[in-house]
Amino acid sequence: MLTSIFLALAMTSTPAGVVTHHAGHSTLFRPSVQLVSTATSGQLIHFGDAIETSENGYLELFMSPGITLRATASSELSISKDFVLLSGGRVWLRVQKAANQKPVQLRVWGGQISIVPGSTIMTEYVKGRGLYLTVIRGAARVLDKRQPNNLINVASGYLYSIRPSQAPSGIRPSSLAIWSLFDSEARKNHQDRIGIEKYLLKWVSSMQPMFERPLGAEQMPKANSLLRGEAGQLFDDLLEGSVRPPPFYENEVPPKGPNIRVEVNFEGD
């Protein structure tokens, strides 16, 4: 009877999540039962598990109610009840605003990141180079060990970095280019599952090339002003210049020849 109780108690260990996708090779460590196995799609993850992706590894985890975690090549992380520990590599983490979803704590070198529900972040830690956090959507709060009393809010579109032997650099705008590399790697692994490339390919294939209309004479070069009416813009200035009276009457214009200026100075004795 006691055996059945212990067996039942062992079975009550609720899984933390599941591997939803993998590519290349990743290793799963389960210290409680001294298990080392290859991570495969559909494999359940338990609290306390550690995962290491190889040089060509890629892994996606889902943890209910609304956490999706993607780890790229050469990443090391472990899943605890209260936090996820990133020991190296690059992860993408999305936390949905699902019911009962609490902020996710991501422990990293140099501090801790709290990811607010409704947010997506990407973070990378490279030994010797430091940690980079990019908030793609929503917001994250960073506890930088160098400023333990200051919780730093990083908003969507911004980047925060913790670099060894450097003073805190503050928050600065991020750019699409920074995380698009990881993003495109993830999309490649997921085989265009929402059909963006499929749509783009169809759009490219249906393209009918046009020819920009040849330029009109008034554009080469641009006429002095386009405001002479449609028909008058090319010739009315010439017509005006030909027929209008000159700006000076003839009797106001000195005849051809040198103009002589005489200056007389009267000076006293």
Partner: protein, 506 residues
């Protein structure tokens, strides 16, 4: 004995609570199994099978935004677009704030050809694929944003160059399209991406890459004009107070694209004849001919890149059935066009101008100061604002002319603005206004004559026209042009021209 009973009771309590927990755990395990099977099936593009798994998962956990998100993906891929949108709305209601949800929604809108709705969604999504999608709708901001990825020698560069080549080809910018297509081929060869290989090859065939391409255009325009001052004379000095005339113009233009260049050439002719007061207005019944050329070099392979152009135009003006030869002009020079933002282009140029006034300008040895022939320079800067259905231009220019007769030496500047709006129903509004200042002289020695050595003129002008596009080749036009020239007595005049006509284009 009691302790044994206690243990048994405790065990019963423990096992019942454990049983409940086991059920809950079993549900969790089943949910995760169904969810991961669904994701796996999606990644294998087996959407119908995936949908079955997600629906099983949904039975176990009803309020998971991710499950509904995947249900929407499956339905969209199975072309059940309305059901997909409903699933997506529910997913968002349950807390799905992901980029991917917006991307799914945008793809559904695009598949349904609902471009405005797709644009609305995509403008809030920050991802490269969504920028590509937005670029397919002709959004200039997205096109410029995507162009930053052209230098990435990976898949991003490959897809970006293909997309931007296509947008350029659709807009008719064939030089840019060919340059971008060449880049796509380079990436294709380097990356060996099978999915895009056929699309790029097909695109190149349709673009006619490596061939000399040309296009022609022809337009004929007839208008009836009512003018209040056909002789450009001061009040009280005109022989006629108003006149009605017929203006006929034609233009034949051709553009040739080869390699990185585009050559444009156009011949424009105008004939104007008066119905009223013909004896007074015979000198105003003009025949004008112009030949203009432009060689454009595309300096970058971006979809909207910098362009350097060399321009040259000849103009010749006659009147009274070619019995009067008024003037011949040659003008030309370089201009540079730079896109400075998704909606702003900057163009600047320097031009040289030489005008030979023939019949109406006395020979130089008669009265030197009255000879109008001039050689001059002009420089302009123009800012063009490109909206979806509206285009605005702001132009500033300076001009200096050195005439044979010093009375016609002129320095001047002008500022003008113009708006072109595509109103609904084939109606186009074009309007603008400008101001110009000119200073003539000095004649003689300005130090001796003082202010009398120079004359100044100011000019204010504006126009408004409505164009009604009846068919792709026929449009009607209604135009009003107003000009007020302020100068010394005998030189100030106003003119107002109302035109009604039709234009045929090919």
């Amino acid at each position: 004995m009691n302790w044994l009973l206690g243990v048994v009771l405790a065990a019963q309590v423990a096992t019942s609570s454990v049983t409940e927990t086991i059920d809950s755990t079993k549900d969790h395990v089943t949910f995760y199994r169904e969810f991961s099977s669904g994701v796996r099936a999606v990644n294998q593009r087996q959407y119908a099978r995936a949908l079955t798994h997600f629906k099983s998962a949904q039975v176990l956990v009803e309020d998971s935004p991710d499950v509904h998100h995947y249900i929407a993906i499956c339905l969209a891929q199975l072309n059940q677009h309305e059901e997909a949108k409903t699933a997506l709305q529910l997913s968002k209601k349950l807390g799905n704030t992901s980029l991917e949800a917006d991307e799914v929604e945008a793809v559904i809108h695009l598949r349904q050809s609902n471009v405005p709705a797709a644009r609305r969604v995509l403008q809030n999504v920050e991802s490269l694929p969504s920028t590509w999608l937005l670029a397919t709708t002709g959004d200039n901001r997205a096109i410029m944003e995507a162009a930053r990825f052209l230098s990435m020698s990976d898949r991003r560069g490959l897809i970006t160059s293909t997309i931007l080549a296509t947008t350029a080809a659709i807009d008719g910018r064939r030089v840019q399209a060919q340059k971008l297509a060449e880049l796509a081929i380079t990436y294709r060869s380097r990356l060996g991406d099978i999915i895009w290989t056929n699309a790029i090859r097909d695109m190149n065939e349709r673009l006619g890459a490596g061939r000399v391409l040309f296009d022609t255009a022809l337009s004929l325009r007839t208008t009836f004009d009512y003018t209040t001052n056909p002789q450009f004379r001061a009040a009280g000095e005109s022989d006629v107070s108003n006149a009605v005339r017929l203006s006929n113009s034609f233009e034949a233009a051709m553009a040739v694209v080869f390699s990185d260049f585009r050559y444009d050439t156009a011949v424009y002719g105008l004939h104007r004849s008066y119905f009223t007061d013909q004896s007074f207005l015979s000198e105003y019944a003009i025949n004008g001919l112009s030949w203009a050329n432009r060689l454009t070099f595309v300096l970058s392979n971006r979809s909207r890149g910098a362009e350097l152009a060399l321009n040259l135009r000849l103009r010749d003006l006659y009147a009274d059935n070619f019995s009067i030869h008024y003037a011949a002009t040659i003008e030309g020079g370089p201009s540079l066009r730079l896109p400075v933002s998704p909606q702003l282009d900057l163009e600047m140029g320097i031009l040289g101008i030489a005008t030979d006034f023939i019949d109406k300008s006395p020979p130089d040895d008669v009265v030197s100061s009255q000879n109008r022939d001039a050689v001059g320079q002009s420089a302009f800067v123009e800012i063009t604002w490109l909206g979806n259905d509206i285009t605005g231009e702001l132009n500033a220019s300076i001009r200096r002319e050195d005439a044979r007769g010093e009375a016609f030496d002129v320095t001047g500047l002008s500022l003008s603005g113009r708006i072109l709006a595509d109103l609904s129903g084939g109606l186009i509004l074009r309007t603008g206004a400008g101001v110009a200042l000119g200073r003539f002289g000095p004649v003689g020695d300005a130090r001796v004559l003082g202010p009398a050595a120079i004359r100044t003129e100011g000019r204010l002008y504006g126009d408004i026209s409505f164009l009604i596009q009846f068919t792709s080749w026929l449009r009607l036009s209604l135009e009003n042009f107003f000009l007020q020239n302020s100068g010394r007595s005998g030189h100030a005049y106003t003119d107002n021209v109302v035109s009604v006509g039709a234009e045929v284009t090919y």
